[in-house]
Amino acid sequence: MRITRACSSLLLAAAAAAALSGQQPAPEPSKANFERHCGTCHEPERGTSSRRTRDQWLQTVNQMVARGAQGTDDDLMAVVEYLTREHGRVNVNLASAADIALVLGLTPAEGAAIVEHRRQHGTFDDAAAVERVTGVDARKLASRRDAMVFGSRVASSTGLVPVAALTAANNWPGVSGGPQREGWAKPELMMSRNTVGAVQLLYSRKLDNRNRGTQALTPPLVLGNLISYRGFKEMLFLGGSADIVYSIDAELNRILWSTPLPVAVSTPAPQGNPACAGGLMGIVMTGSAAGGLGGGVTIRRPGALPAGVLPAAATATSQLVVGLASGFGRNGLVLAVGSDGRLYPLYQSNGALFGKPIPFLPPHSSVRSVNLYDYALHAATVDGCGGPNAVYALDLAADGNAAAKFETGDSAQGSAGTAIGNDGTVYVHAGGKVIALTPKNLKERDHFAIPGASGAGVTPVVFRHGGKELIVAGTGDGDLFVLDSGSLGGTDHRTPLARVRAGGPLRSAFASWEDPDTGTRWIYASLPNAIAAFTLEQRDGRPVLSPGWVSSEVVAPAAPVVANGLVFGLSTGNASRRATLYILDAATGKPLFTSGDAVTSAANPETGLAVANGRVYFSTIDNTVYSFGIPTEH
């Protein structure tokens, strides 16, 4: 179960309270639990007159939550589990063995037998075909025939696609997809190896931003759905170097709003260093708005705010945190850091300023990417523009809003600045080290001294693999290292779990995903003129990093993104070459799509891609936003 960050805090608090009081914290997916939570508003049996899939039950429970149903996420997910088990339907051609066993009243082994049969012989046509599977007790299925469904896809302009793909409303809330910098659009269903042939340029839009040096637009962020006062909107957010934040209707290519930040800089920008051209430092957004409409995996709450309008001039930190804790249907925030180093919280709905700007970074700093995790905003400054290079953290849930600071000496490496672990640890690659900093107050907790490092490198990526949280770091010398978050580099701080030569200097940021069909963990990295893939496997209980493939030429690739078996790479071009989008087979590197000459300008090498809901977005140095993807009928 994935839960939102806000819910995570609530759950922790609930668990702590339960532990203190001696209560049982783990609800059972029982009829009693179902009746306790649903029976306060209506007769419980009312809702169970027809079988529904897990997604449908989750939607139903979320509707009830929006209507005021009470309970912790665990309580309500237990209700979903009970309803799925007792009144569920399951698509035997798509579902996991566990879900099949749960809904059809089978043993785990019987569920696994059905999935294995499906893998070997293809999909089932009817219940009789399922009953013939060796190892399955057909008598058990007799009473659950009405719980089996077999369809999987509906017609779209590109052929048959999963139903959920058509109504997906997923987010891309920050650079490289989120705090861990995985660069993995996990929920993507629309674009796949089967449908990539339908990808095309959907639109481009030139914005009225003015460049500051080579700085133009930030990488786009995607909000899958905001229930706004102007309707349900899938929104793009981009920051412009001229201290402007833009929102575009991601499907209709309409400007929804643009907000010039009221920056106030008392000192002039430093002269003579082209890397310190100033301008807007970055944006990130709260990302737990309405979420997908076709299902989802979590309880969606109506938000913590009471009905009515927020104070027009909120100043208290608590109000900012309330704004961050957006839930189902609740307005969220875009957090923009202006050239004056102040944080400007903007309503996602209309771009209006939420409260007052909050001091965060030195004016005129140069920041690769801001990062938001657990109510804390992070940024790594580079090139010594506004002062010494450092990592900053602003605890948005603490009084006073004073930013913590950790000086790194050298610039943070890579295009994505920091990566943040699931426990809030902040990882940064600077000064030939990968440094682990404690959440929010930024004390050095650990480090890995990169052997023979020249200093250049890549923003680390954090992911779970083999029961551990791992960090992959890369250098300009062409080395990849796998690190254990529990002990970076071991006792001597110099011993990685695994290492491999990349075949060239590494740059920007990684992407990483786990192929659900094979269980293989892949890591994708940018070389100067190609994208390289690596695999991470467990051998004899130890991780082993191996070269996978190297793509054909991709000039100065931006940080890659992986989604549903596809790798998206952006050749950012150079003075004589325009940017080009490539889509590659994630397992082989085979080119599946190229944008050809559709893009008319080069892109900043430090930019990034965004992928969500059947579309990929990026911006170029002439302040143009591009959307490629699969067209849908409006």
């Binding site: 369809g151 139903v163 309707g231 076709g294």
Partner: protein, 519 residues
């Protein structure tokens, strides 16, 4: 048709009996929301009000009813039934349902209450979320008045807030038989429809855990309730389901997933037909852009209007997206269920908003003396910048009525824009009678989100922002305004409707006031 014949027969017999009475025989009734089972919104028997005299409309009477609003819901569409034999002679009676489980019978000639019935039932063991506009509880379905029995008695069929069917004698409000469970408590049911002695309703919003589905109750066997659940989305066409000549019951399925292989039919229109003790799906239509409608919450929310054109039954429906689909009930959407006979361009909702925009409620259709078939729809919000009607009456920014005509070209049917009315504040489903269109701007605050807070459709926020309803009469051929009530109506309404009969136009408002306009 059978209903009209029975009515005509009764009027004839009553006319013989009461021709010496003080008032002229009432020829026109309004026995069900939307005028008839087809939900045409067409009062065919109006003769008093004409395009020439309707400018003289005035408030004949207004009556303060003691219904207590539930959230934004108050009085439902008035029903009108004439020639009711009472102890004080034959009367034309308005039956008005109130959200707080009230039924009022009003002598329309005198503007006085004849009787009131309040439905009592055991209090709920569960609690409802206060302020929830979408789920107000109480009575939400406009009742229906049945045909006269052999003794000329008529029965009101109503659905109380406990989900029980209540049957009342029109004459005195006396309850006939015991309450019979039909739907479930605090569900949101929509207008009842009666066809071949079977009652139908639809439910939406999943209120109080109620499934969203079509419900049917055979009055010959009230113990057996039949349902069809489309698996997704609420069936919230304002006037419930529309019924075609073969008894197929059509209802829009709100917003939801469309996944026919898994028997899920959200964002579409379903047709079900009673067969024995089952209510199976007979056909369905889903717009080819259903996923877009789903993502933008542009529900299929309009009760279809069914009509006959050159001997062929046809149907129109719409959604918050703001276009009209022309469908063949014999094959909704063709083989792929996604191909209508015709679909119009967008009439409004360029903003792609889910609230206070698009088409809401129901439509109307009529045929003029020259045999031309007209389709009428209300729109909310500004008209689409690319929609042009041959006749218009000024900029439309808040809502309007759009009229289209059914055209035949090379054997293909199409809907051609004819006119768009003046601007009105959230135009409500029109009623057509004797060459005049009646409609009103409902004046409610229809927003469901705020810029700062996001989703928020709570009644306590919206009620203070609501304004006043305004009744309009329009020339049916041109859309020209013939009458406006201006500021005479003091309040607004939400999810209600108009009725027209025998020279009078009825509208109820949130404050419990029932208005009767006439000459």
């Amino acid at each position: 048709m059978r209903e009209r014949l029975l009515t005509a027969a009764l009027v004839l017999s009553c006319g013989l009996t009461f021709k010496a009475g003080a008032q002229a025989p009432a020829k026109a009734n309004w026995l069900t929301d939307g005028a008839d089972v087809q939900r045409s919104g067409w009062q065919r028997n109006e003769t008093t009000l004409t395009p020439d005299n309707v400018r003289n409309l005035k408030i004949v009477w207004k009556l303060q009813l003691d219904n207590v609003p539930r959230e934004m819901h108050a009085l439902l569409t008035p029903l009108i039934v004439g020639e009711i034999a009472t102890a004080s002679g034959p009367k034309e009676i308005a039956i008005v349902a109130g959200s707080s489980d009230n039924i009022y019978a009003i002598d329309v000639a005198a503007g006085q209450i004849l009787w009131k019935k309040h439905f009592e039932y055991p209090p709920a063991r569960t609690s409802r979320r206060p302020g929830d506009t979408l789920c107000p509880g109480g009575q939400t379905a406009t009742p229906v008045i049945g045909p006269p029995d052999t003794a000329g008695r008529r029965t009101i069929y109503a659905l109380d807030g406990s989900g029980a069917l209540r049957q009342l004698n029109v004459v005195d409000g006396r309850e006939i038989g015991r309450p019979v469970p039909f739907t479930w408590r605090d569900g949101k049911s929509y207008a009842l429809n009666l066809f071949n002695n079977v009652l139908y309703t639809t439910t939406a919003q999943g209120c109080a855990g109620n499934p969203n589905q079509v419900w049917a109750m055979d009055l010959n066997n009230v113990e057996l309730v039949k349902t069809f659940n489309p698996g997704s989305g609420g069936l919230w066409g304002r006037t419930g389901a529309a019924i075609s000549s073969d008894g197929t019951v059509y209802a829009p399925t709100g917003d939801g997933t469309y996944d026919p292989e898994n028997q899920v039919y959200g964002n579409g229109l379903i047709g079900v037909r009673l067969e024995g003790d089952k209510l199976p799906l007979k056909d369905y239509f889903v717009p080819s852009n259903w996923a877009w409608l789903r993502k933008r919450d542009l529900d299929m929310n309009v009760t279809p209007a069914i009509f006959t054109y050159k001997g062929r039954e046809l149907m129109v429906t719409s959604s918050k997206e703001c276009r009209i689909w022309l469908l063949d009930p014999k094959s909704l959407g063709g083989a792929d269920h996604q191909t209508p006979l015709y679909r119009t361009p967008l009439l409004c909702n360029e903003e792609v908003d889910f609230a206070a925009a698009g088409i809401w409620g129901s439509m109307a259709t009529w045929e003029d003396a020259r045999g031309r078939r007209w389709i009428l729809t209300p729109i909310w919000g500004p008209s689409h910048s690319e929609f042009k009607a041959p006749v218009s009456h000024g900029p439309v920014t808040h809502g309007a009525i759009v009229a289209l005509t059914l055209e035949e070209k090379n054997g293909a049917l199409a809907l051609a824009p004819a006119w768009i009315s003046r601007d009105m504040d959230l135009a409500e489903p029109p009623v057509v009678a004797n060459g005049v269109i009646y409609t009103y701007g409902n004046g409610e605050d229809a927003t469901q989100a705020t810029a700062e807070g996001g989703l928020n459709s709570s009644a306590p926020r919206r009620i203070p922002l609501s304004k006043k309803a305004v009744l309009y009469a329009l020339d049916a051929q041109t859309g020209r305004e013939l009458y406006s009530s201006g500021s005479q109506i003091a309040s607004w309404n939400h999810f209600s409707g108009l009725s027209v009969a025998n020279g009078r136009v009825y509208i109820g408002t949130f404050d419990g006031m029932l208005y009767c306009f006439g000459l």
